[in-house]
């Protein structure tokens, strides 16, 4: 269960690892850029259903329709911000 004490830096690393491995983006997840659009890194439009489901499950957060804006999921950093905001509001 995630808590409000979740470390941002740790979260970013987890997301990099998850995206790299789930969508085969890079051999070494540590090299994954965190401010580049994940579309440019190799995630396809259709993969977003998986991203949303996995994030919901891993971080035990509720993702409402109004949260599902491309801007919230465009980069690793933005996804991290979104998750932190959700966790804080739990």
């Amino acid at each position: 269960m995630a808590t409000v004490t979740i470390e941002r830096a740790q979260l970013v690393e987890e997301l990099k690892k998850y995206l790299s491995e789930r969508f085969f983006l890079t051999d070494d997840y540590r090299t994954l850029p965190i401010d580049e659009s994940i579309l440019d890194l190799g995630v396809e439009s259709l993969d977003f259903i998986q991203v949303l489901e996995d994030i919901k499950e891993i971080y035990h957060i509720v993702i409402d329709d109004d949260d599902v804006l491309f801007e919230n999921f465009e980069t690793v950093n933005k996804i991290a911000d979104f998750i932190l905001q959700k966790v804080i509001n739990l």
Binding site: S37, L39, D40, S45, L46, F48, I49, L52, E53, D65, V68, L69, F70, F73, E74
Partner: protein
């Protein structure tokens, strides 16, 4: 290894004529394959020239020309994005084909007999989804010709829109209703253009109390609908409608001359969604028009997003077809001819260099739409339960797989829908007979064909689907299969006019044969006097590959092309000298006349003097064809060598 030995033996053992030098071209980037070929070629005293399949078409052409290669061996998959007619010519030829006078449009469609569906394997088509979403359906064509001037369209067909009479259409529907069919798909682009006839058709359905589902998967013109017309068509059984928005920008509507009245379309679609939420709506749009701005592209998304809800909204990448006004517009705006030609093999979802908007923008645009509209749980929870009431889970799965490479269950899970509440609900109209029974009734209805001993044999082939292996090669996941209605029209007409004189066999790729060896077997067993092929421009490379193989297998009968690709590109098609003749536009009358002339000529293609009297065809005169053939390069599909030797 071993294939290379057979390929080289095949190429050099006198089966292929016309080697002009001792060079043999090998298109490959596989070191092991190249090494093996080199060994074989050296052993036979020839010299290999390696052609990198990764080169651009033009670079390959130059290399082939420079080395004067008259023989090129290639694997099937390397040719998927190459222009085969160009590869087959060792020199650019400026000769123009003969084009006979235009064939007048058939104005009385009722004069054409209802297509004889006993000519095809109905069980197969009834068991698959086609353009319509249901499986157990009969597809109909009710009108021809289009008066609109959209510049992205080939405008292959006459401007005059003609439609069958309501009674004639109803007669066909009633026939299959009597056999137990309950799902009907009208394939026309704009069925509602003739309001009077289409209204009468719906009224006949209601008057005779036919309890059917009707689908319009290829579109209705949404801005000319009236509320009472909508009420009537839905009362008559309409459950699926496709509207072609193309763009939400008024400026682009004018530029592309679609001239859709956006407000009216919006009003009508809103009316349907509010009053008839069970009707499944599809929406087609495009992005990437020359001069389109990002703001204008967003207007299209905003238009769709303002409707609650569209079941299947499509965002296609604009495909610029050669010989269209859209091509002129693109050229005027700095998109090169070469870029346009290179984009031809791309699918409607693939990013192309013809786009002036950045690829980055398009990727974000589509993703934004996908996650903010398509994946919106409110939308999924609204549309999926209704879809489950009207269609089977199996049908929906096929639809979603084709639509978004996404299975239905993943969306159901994502949206948290309890599927069991809705499956096969009250709106679903199941055929009241098993497919086999319907097929038997169809066969019993249409008269058994009896042919004269010396009847001419024609193999009519529909190549608008891939075989499984080809689909894998070109990474095509589009699984929709529609019965070859156009070919049925042709053969039914000829059977009526020349009874017993022409034995026509209709086959479709992926249905009647799923690999090239099976196609060869069909040709060997049937021994046609002529092969007629129709396809769409998207399948052009595949078509030329199949034709090449037919010749590689040493079949020498005339090969005639018809249909959309042939009509729009006959000039370049005929440079593939394996193809003898192209039928332009509507085929029935031309096909009949051509066959009559061939029958008079011992089943051979008649001479130029006779051909020039047949309206609606294009061909190279014998002397010109000889010139082109003298520049022809032998191309051998090495992968198919075992279907050849």
């Amino acid at each position: 290894m071993g294939r290379e030995v057979d390929v080289i033996n095949f190429a050099l053992d006198g089966k292929i004529d016309g080697l002009k030098n001792n060079l043999i071209g090998i298109m490959s980037d596989n070191a092991e394959e190249i090494g093996e070929y080199q060994k074989q070629i050296d052993a036979r005293g020839f010299e290999p020239v390696i052609v990198d399949p990764g080169l651009e078409n033009d670079q390959i052409q130059s290399l082939l020309e420079e080395r004067q290669l008259s023989l090129l061996l290639s694997r099937n998959d390397y040719l998927s994005d190459k222009s085969i007619p160009d590869l087959m010519l060792s020199k650019r030829v400026d000769l123009k084909p003969e084009v006979t006078v235009k064939r007048p449009q058939i104005l009385d469609l009722d004069s054409l007999p209802i297509p004889d569906r006993s000519l095809i394997n109905n069980s197969f088509y009834l068991d698959r989804i086609g353009h319509g979403m249901t499986k157990n359906k009969i597809s109909l064509m009710t009108s021809r010709g289009c008066p609109f001037k959209c510049i992205y369209c080939h405008k292959l067909w006459p401007k005059n829109n003609v439609i069958r009479s309501a009674e004639n259409m109803f007669e066909e529907v009633k026939l299959y209703y009597g056999f137990g069919v309950r799902n009907f798909v009208i394939l026309d682009d704009i069925f509602n253009l003739n309001v009077k006839v289409s209204t009468n058709f719906f009224k006949l359905i209601l008057k005779h109390k036919l309890d059917i589902n009707i689908q319009f998967p290829n579109g209705l013109r949404g801005d000319i609908l009236a509320f009472d017309y909508i009420d009537l068509m839905i009362e008559a059984g309409t459950i699926e409608i496709n509207f072609a928005l193309e763009t939400g920008s008024e400026r682009l509507q004018k530029l592309i001359r679609k001239n859709l009245k956006l407000e009216k379309l919006h009003r009508n679609v809103q009316y349907i969604t509010e009053k008839y939420p069970h009707v499944v709506l599809e929406f087609n749009s495009m992005v990437g028009f020359p001069t389109e701005t990002e703001e204008e592209a967003m207007m299209t998304l905003d238009f769709i997003k303002s409707i609650k809800w569209i079941d299947f909204p499509y965002i296609h990448i604009l495909k610029i077809y050669p010989n269209t006004e859209m091509e002129h517009l693109a050229l005027e705006n700095g998109i090169s001819k070469e870029t346009i030609l290179k984009s031809q093999h791309k699918g409607y979802q693939e990013l192309s260099d013809t786009l002036q908007l950045s690829h980055d923008f398009i990727k974000k645009y589509r993703t934004k739409f996908f996650i903010e509209y398509f994946l919106r749980k409110e939308r999924l929870r609204h549309v999926i339960p209704r879809q489950l009431r009207a269609f089977t889970e199996d049908e929906l799965n096929e639809k979603y797989t084709t639509y978004q490479s996404r299975d239905l269950n993943s969306l159901i899970r994502f949206a948290g829908i309890d599927k069991d509440q809705y499956t096969n609900g009250k709106d679903y109209k199941k055929n009241i007979q098993q497919l086999e029974v319907i097929d038997k009734k169809i066969k019993a209805h249409f008269p058994t064909k009896k042919y004269k001993k010396d009847a001419m044999k024609v193999l009519l082939m529909d190549l608008s689907t891939y075989t499984s292996k080809e689909a894998e090669t070109v990474k095509d996941s589009y699984k929709v299969v529609e019965a070859p209605l156009g070919l049925m029209y042709l053969q039914t007409y000829v059977n009526k006019k020349l009874p017993g004189q022409v034995e026509g066999k209709i086959i479709k790729a992926g249905v009647d044969f799923d690999n090239f060896a099976d196609l060869r077997k069909i040709l060997q067993e049937f021994q046609p006097d002529m092969v007629g092929i129709r396809t769409l421009s998207y399948y052009r490379n595949y078509l030329h590959k199949v034709v090449l193989l037919i010749r590689q297998w040493d079949f020498k009968m005339p090969i005639v092309l018809g249909g959309p690709y042939a009509t729009s590109n006959y000039e370049s098609i005929l440079k593939d000298t394996n193809i003898d003749l192209v039928v332009i536009g509507e085929g029935e009358l031309t096909y009949l006349e051509l066959l009559e002339k061939m029958i008079q000529n011992n089943k051979k293609l008649p001479d130029d003097e006779v051909l020039k009297t047949i309206p609606g065809i294009a061909y190279f005169k014998k002397q010109d064809k000889k010139i082109i053939q003298s520049y022809s390069r032998n191309l051998i599909l090495s992968e198919e060598i075992y279907t050849t030797i």
